[in-house]
Amino acid sequence: MANATVIDTGRETDFSDYIALLKPRVMSLVVFTALVGLLVAPVSVNPVIGFASILFIAIGGGASGALNMWWDADIDRIMTRTQNRPIPAGRVTGYNAKLFGTWMSVIAVGMLGLTSNVFAAALLAFTIFFYAVVYTMWLKRSTPQNIVIGGAAGAFPPMIGWAVATGGVSVESILMFLLIFMWTPPHFWALALFMNDDYDAAGVPMLTVTHGKRSTRKHILVYTILLIPVALVLGFTSIGGPIYFAISLVLNAMFLAGAWKLYRRDEDVAIADGYKSERKVFRISLYYLFLHFVALLIEAGTKAMGVTWADWPQWV
């Protein structure tokens, strides 16, 4: 090493930096919802095939996260929430993140196709494309509706899980998609209400920046009201049932009450108490989605144990 030129780039790249590029926290949601989609499907899957499929879906989701961080490195440098990500912190170069994201996407889609079926792989490829290109490169910086349409990317995993088992689409998998799709806007806007300054500085057209917080509060309420029928209808499909419906009813009442409270609140009041209610609604929204999918798992579990609800109406 006597003649080698050493370029000091701060800290040496660590294995964990590449793990961070895969956005592990987003990945946990992808894994969970895809797993539920796979488990509630009417076709049983070999455990090895199921495990491998979920892993490749997770890697695919993570790869789109790496591509997102490559493209957004300039705005990640500005926002305090994202300054410590591997690229803005100087631990991974943008070029390496791009290569990593691209190859992980190719491997994940290819392996999912070989492990399960072509349809599931195509759906995963479309999800990566949607998140990395449609949302990150196009919508995020151009329209305050970025969250609404971009939310579709996060909504695909249960559909992919369902496709791994069944090889296709059905009303149930579309309703699981819609549940996450409709949930994403109020969830993110609640976050944006108390993270506004960050998006403002980075010039990302969040609804709070372009239309103000009063309008955002109204949007949260409207989208929450639109979300409720989607969540409840799922109870009357082959994967729903009275347990799901009861849990859904409680969660929707809580979310709606929270959204209503945010709608009635004044900005001055919110600033005075440090956005206490906004933070609370954001937390409720996290439980809302998680517990809906837990409820679907419970229904699948009871069906597996032979419990059936003969009098429960099933529309589809």
Binding site: M1, E12, T13, D14, F15, N46, V48, I49, A52, L55, L114, T115
Partner: protein, 59 residues
């Protein structure tokens, strides 16, 4: 740079170890998938550059 020089720092050595483990896990996973598919009785053969009449589905 020769292979022996690749582990010059503790960080790099650990990175190489982790990458090795990931690759080993990947090999194990692909092997497990293969076994699972074979046990399910799926046809693992395919045409390999030349036509294989035996694999074609008869009408």
């Amino acid at each position: 740079m020769s292979g022996a020089d690749n582990n010059t720092t503790p960080t790099r050595k650990r990175n190489n170890m982790m990458l090795g483990l990931v690759l080993a896990a990947f090999v194990t996973l692909v092997f497990s998938i293969t076994i699972a598919k074979m046990m399910a009785g799926q046809n693992m053969e395919a045409t390999d550059h030349v036509r294989r009449p035996a694999l074609e589905i008869s009408e």
